[in-house]
């Protein structure tokens, strides 16, 4: 069953068409990988699904309802969670406080589940390694209780082993926690681990 559906969306900037009439459905319990060359519009596509921007034409539907109807902020708060390449954690907060940004539940169980100790959960986020920071970002996304996790190059700054670990966590999110995980990446190795691989080329999205 699709949770997110994009209907005929178009997007362009600086007179350059980036996305041409893209339509696609995304289901829970699956990991989707969107691949393509740099500047092809992968991140833009993710931003439109996540309500960070609006398409010039077309609709993004969440559980059959246009996300513009309740507002993009509402959509971002309740339906989707982002994971960024550069983690985007709040630097004056601890991991626990970063996770608490999106959830009222105690953050420690989620952080421990993702491999952080109690002590690490109370440190300043900048004192953690890159892999640990990305785990905090994933914990924040999972704690939000959003059904859709949007990850933009989540392993871009990590070494191979850590990248595989993070990918394992994301797959676990999709398969065990029944989330819809959409990953934007230029890494074919990472994309190969996804359930569905989508290729964005010349503004069009195709299943590989």
């Amino acid at each position: 069953m699709s949770i997110i559906k994009v209907c005929d969306i178009k997007y362009s900037y600086n007179n350059k068409t980036v996305l041409k009439n893209i339509s696609m459905e995304f289901e829970v319990g699956k990991v989707y990988a969107v691949v393509g060359v740099s500047g092809c519009g992968k991140t833009t596509f993710l931003s439109l699904i996540g309500g960070l921007d609006s398409p010039l034409d077309g609709q993004v539907l969440f559980q059959g309802e246009d996300i513009e109807k309740k507002g993009l902020a509402w959509h971002r708060k309740n339906n989707v969670a982002f994971i960024f390449q550069n983690y985007n954690l709040i630097d004056y907060m601890t991991p626990a406080e970063n996770v608490a940004l999106t959830s009222k539940l105690p953050p420690l169980p989620m952080l421990e589940r993702l491999g952080l100790t109690k002590e690490e959960a109370k440190r300043n986020v900048l004192k953690l390694s890159g892999g640990q920071q990305q785990r905090v970002a994933i914990a924040r996304a999972l704690a939000s209780d959003a059904s859709v996790i949007l990850a933009d190059e989540p392993t871009g700054n990590l070494d191979e082993d850590t990248a595989n670990e993070i990918m394992g966590i994301l797959k676990e999110c999709a398969h065990q926690m029944k989330k819809c995980v959409i990953i934007v990446t230029h890494s074919n190795d990472l994309a190969a681990q996804a359930d569905v691989v989508l290729c964005l080329k010349k503004g069009e999205l195709q299943k590989r």
Binding site: G50, L52, D53, K77, N78, F84, N88, L101, T102
Partner: protein
């Protein structure tokens, strides 16, 4: 997580930035409150100086020039002003004090007056200046004489006199002593100074309430009765008891003191319209005690301080706004993250406002303490000398020769301080809203692209 908790975490964890903002607001606040207090002090001081200087107009009698046997003779007329006339004049404006004066002479068996030209037992007398407020008399006001001991004569004084230190010394008199005065009248007959009092002699027992010293010596050879040392300043009832004046009628002169010199030009023309006063024998002399000369300087000074204050306020507000704007712009990434995790623009704005205004409130407390310290330190240096020269109405009413004590010119009322802080609060809030609006107008995607 609520915006208040996020704001608290920012304040506690970003100590350097928070302290920077705190210091900036504290310095600007202290500066502004101090400026307002100086401006306020300048206004109060100007008003005090104006009231202290005041102005006066004197109702006096003309002198008539006659020729007797080919000799030119100048004779001073008496005025004839009643309490009714005074009451009428007092309705024309804000008359602070009225000082009616009667002149007469007195002898005493207990006082030997300082001998003057051709002194003898018959002409050993002193002139009596009976008045309502001795401190306002020209001799005291213009520092010809000064109260050395005791108190001045005031409206409520009865059978009270002030004598010179020479008389007191010569006759072994001191404040609190009682003496009996006797009616007398000074005259010249066949080039002899004599007592020309024709009526029955009357006496009155008076109390010495003060002793004055002479500051400006008059060395000219005059009759005993004309010597300054022998002049007695008395309450109005003394001459009345001696039969030398009538009740409620004043024949010497009547001085009116106006609190605000600017009012003089309005009151005097009205007084001149009073038909009951014979203007052939009376005239009015005005005295603004040099106020017209210094009023322009006072106005210029006040305007200069106001211009300086406006400049300081504008520059302070501009610096504050600029720094707060730069501070807010450095938080683009943070704003983008908050928006991406679903925190609304309104909540982000509330957090920024709450943080800065919390720091501002703390800075205001600090600046208030600093201002109190500045006030304590500078009031004495700036105003002590000036305030000591300002005579209060209270001092006049009590008869004391006291000067103004520390008026606390730099102290501001809580209302004015709160107004300064409120304006600053508003400027800070507007700066935050303005700078944050620039960021929050962008779409989250754009913000995240800047990261």
């Amino acid at each position: 997580m609520s915006f208040m908790k996020r704001a608290s975490l920012y304040i506690l964890r970003k100590k350097g930035k928070t302290f920077g903002i705190f210091l900036l607001i504290a310095v600007v606040s202290t500066f502004l409150v101090s400026c307002v207090s100086i401006l306020n002090a300048a206004d109060i001081l100007t008003a005090d100086i104006r009231k202290s200087i005041g102005a006066a107009f004197y109702l006096r009698a003309n002198s008539s020039v006659t020729t007797k046997k080919g000799e030119l003779s100048i004779e001073k007329n008496n005025i004839n002003i009643t309490d009714n006339d005074i009451a009428k004049i007092e309705k024309y404006g804000d008359i602070a004090y009225c000082n009616p004066i009667n002149y007469g002479y007195a002898k005493s068996e207990e006082i030997v007056f300082i001998p003057g030209k051709n002194d003898n037992l018959q002409n050993n007398m002193g002139q009596v200046t009976a008045l309502r407020y001795s401190a306002l008399h020209a001799d005291f006001a213009e520092k010809v004489i000064s109260l050395q001991q005791g108190e001045h004569i005031i409206k409520t004084s009865e059978k009270a006199i002030i004598v010179s230190s020479e008389i007191a010394e010569k006759n072994n008199l001191s404040v609190g002593d009682n003496v009996i005065l006797q009616s007398a009248e000074f005259g010249v007959e066949n080039s002899e100074y004599i007592d020309v009092w024709k009526k029955d002699k009357k006496t009155v027992e008076v109390s010495i309430v003060g002793i004055y010293e002479i500051l400006v010596e008059n060395t000219s050879a005059t009759a005993t009765a004309a010597k300054q040392e022998n002049r007695i300043y008395a309450s109005l009832d003394v001459l009345l008891s001696l039969g030398e004046s009538e009740a409620s009628v004043y024949t010497g002169e009547v001085d009116f003191y106006v609190a605000d010199p600017d009012e003089l030009s309005e009151i005097v023309p009205k007084v001149r319209q009073i038909a009951e006063i014979d203007w052939k024998t009376h005239f009015i002399r005005t005295n603004d005690f040099e106020y017209s000369k210094i009023s322009d300087r006072l106005k210029s000074l006040s305007n200069l301080i106001k211009v300086l204050f406006v400049c300081v306020s504008v520059v302070s507000a501009a610096i504050l706004t600029l720094i707060l704007t730069f501070g807010a712009r450095s938080r683009v990434q943070e704003s983008g993250i908050f928006l991406a995790v679903g925190i609304s623009k309104k909540e982000v704005l509330m957090q920024f406002l709450f943080e800065t205004l919390t720091v501002a409130l703390t800075a205001f407390v600090f600046s208030y303490i600093s201002y109190l310290a500045i006030q304590e330190g500078f009031t004495d240096r700036l105003f002590a000398d000036i305030s000591s020269k300002v005579i209060t109405n209270a001092a006049l009413e009590n008869g004391a020769d006291a000067s103004l004590k520390d008026q606390g010119y730099l102290s501001l009322g809580i209302g004015k301080i709160l107004t300064v802080y409120s304006v600053q609060f508003f400027v800070i809030a507007v700066s935050i809203l303005f700078s944050s609006r620039m960021i929050l107008r962008l779409k989250p995607k754009k913000i995240l692209q800047y990261i």
